[in-house]
């Protein structure tokens, strides 16, 4: 298989409520990525459109977006794996380019979640679980991740304060990321009591501050073969490894609750393909839809042994200056989580880091970066390893 590179990345600013249509929202991420790539829309061989369905009136959004972005008559495909849709889109783009079917593919992720209420959104996300056997009990995403948190705490003695420290870190970088939806600082004091701004109970043991906010946003990643990469880019970023996995949608079908098996499985595949180990990763983006998700990611990716993730955050090892910087763009917790756009935004962050273009968030001279993007409650996982 030929080498595959990323030569353009873009995203919209993530906002609570985008004052426009989905095609206009998608245009923002696409324009930034296309300009970044120095390509023209007519140079792009195909597009992959990624989102989680049911948030928009528009059915089959790929066709509408391809037309609006000037990507006709090239083929366009729609892919969906809930919150990991656009890293799945990246994998599809990789396959299309590596196989030689297309020399270039635009991966376009978007989500406009603001057209429905938060409770309606929870109900839709809850139906990303098993609607026959679990949703009738009144499930929602925070409750499922809370069950993972409870199991992690029971097994390893992880505390609510350990989780709050992850939120504090996210906010440190959300403040300096101009694309983030949440730009304010967060301190441990804000978790002090149930009446504190971050301390209100949501689904035990998770509190308000443990949960990411819904956001509207779009992202775009331009994926090309080696020939195009050399023709259009001075700093191509290569896809070195890409792993994916799935597991039982039912919690009843899971062997381990203190971690996500899809993350471990995807990471093992990606490390093997890239020929690197956890020690080689200089900067990472992980799927912190909830604080516990970042804690479990440390352990699944091998940054810490199972149960020792808390030592990383207590020692500030995942801060920008630490031994393994994680989510130094604010993560989903502060940057925001527009479901279909999230994976593409994570990839953008790592590409900018590897190019040395991450501005105030720049980690010192990273050579290899990793993206961990999870769909549903550990239902789908993608781990992607990128290098200069």
């Amino acid at each position: 298989m030929g080498k595959v590179a990323i030569i353009g990345v873009g995203q919209s600013t993530f906002v609570r409520s985008y004052p426009g249509s989905i095609r206009e929202l998608a245009f923002e991420g696409f324009r930034e990525a296309l300009k970044d790539s120095t390509m023209k829309a007519s140079d792009i061989g195909a597009s992959v459109v990624c989102s989680a369905p049911e948030y928009d009136k528009q059915r089959s959004p790929a066709g509408v977006l391809a037309e609006y972005l000037g990507l006709n008559p090239q083929p366009t495909f729609y892919v969906e794996t809930l919150c990991s849709s656009s890293s799945t889109g990246l994998k599809l783009a990789y396959s299309l380019v590596a196989s030689g079917l297309h020399d270039s593919v635009a991966v376009i992720g978007f989500q406009k979640m603001s057209e429905i209420s938060s409770a309606e959104s929870q109900e839709r996300m809850g139906r990303g679980a098993d609607i026959q056997w679990e949703s009738p009990f009144g499930t929602m995403m925070p409750a499922y991740y809370a069950m993972h948190a409870q199991a992690h705490m029971a097994k390893y003695g992880t505390t609510s304060e350990d989780l709050a420290l992850i939120r504090v870190k996210a906010a440190t970088y959300g403040q300096i990321n101009e694309k983030a939806v949440y730009r304010k600082p967060v301190t441990l004091d804000m978790f002090a009591t149930p009446q504190s701004p971050m301390g209100g109970p949501v689904s035990s043991p998770l509190r308000v501050g443990d949960c990411c906010a819904n956001a509207d946003g779009s992202s775009c990643v331009i994926v090309v073969n080696e020939e195009k990469a050399k023709a259009f880019s001075k700093k191509p970023i290569w896809i070195l490894g890409i792993g994916s996995a799935s597991t039982s949608v039912n919690m009843a079908g899971r062997d381990i609750l203190s971690g996500l098996t899809v993350a471990k499985e995807s990471a093992d595949q990606a490390y093997k393909m890239a020929g690197v180990t956890a020690k080689d990763i200089d900067v990472a983006e992980v799927h912190d839809c909830f604080t516990i998700a970042e804690m479990m990611a440390y352990e699944a990716l091998g940054f810490a042994k199972p149960g020792e993730g808390r030592d990383l955050i207590r020692g500030k090892e995942t801060y920008k200056e630490g031994s393994i910087p994680v989510n130094v763009d604010g993560g989903l917790l502060s940057k925001g989580h527009p479901i279909g756009a999230t994976g593409g935004s994570q990839i953008r962050t790592i590409v900018l880091q590897l190019r040395g273009e991450a501005g105030p968030m720049q980690v010192k001279d990273p050579k290899i970066g990793l993206v961990h993007n999870i769909g549903g409650v550990g239902l789908y996982g993608n781990v992607t390893i990128l290098g200069r």
């Binding site: 409770a119 109900e123 026959q132 009990f137 009144g138």
Partner: protein
């Protein structure tokens, strides 16, 4: 010309506070639940055990399955108490969802309302019982073993 309406077996619409599906080949689960039994399926060809129940066995591709009762005690794997609920479940708040491990299979459900919160501990033994909800729907809950 009139066509006689076919009887639709939509028993599953009775499952849970809000049911999202009514047509399934595992509808006998509801009849069993009405009789106070929580049931899973076992493949008669290869012996694979399934909870939640399934009409089809993915291990040997057989659809020759039989019901068994979820009986005895399970160990509490994890749980969470919800303070917010999705649309349609607000009246039930607060409630706790939980997972019980029976060894060869696990059961996802709710903790019984009258189980004191301070007594709930991961690893404790509980059993699964049928439950009628205030709105007339059926589910099952975990009670002290």
């Amino acid at each position: 010309m009139s066509e006689k309406k076919k009887e639709v077996d939509d028993r599953f619409k009775k499952f849970g506070t809000v049911s999202f599906t009514s047509l399934t080949k595992t509808n006998d689960f509801i009849t069993n639940l009405e009789q106070g039994k929580i049931s899973g399926t076992r493949c008669k060809d290869c012996g694979a055990v399934y909870f939640p129940p399934r009409a089809d066995c993915c291990k040997c591709l057989s659809s020759n399955v039989e019901w068994f009762d979820v009986a005895g005690k399970g160990k509490l794997v994890t749980y969470s108490k919800l303070e917010y609920a999705p649309v349609g479940f607000g009246e039930d708040l607060p409630y706790s969802i939980a997972l019980l491990d029976y060894g060869t299979y696990k059961v996802f459900g709710r903790l019984a309302k009258d189980l004191p919160e301070n007594e709930v501990k991961v690893g404790m033994e509980l059993k699964t019982v049928a439950n009628k909800l205030p709105n007339g729907q059926l589910n099952y809950v975990f009670v002290k073993a």
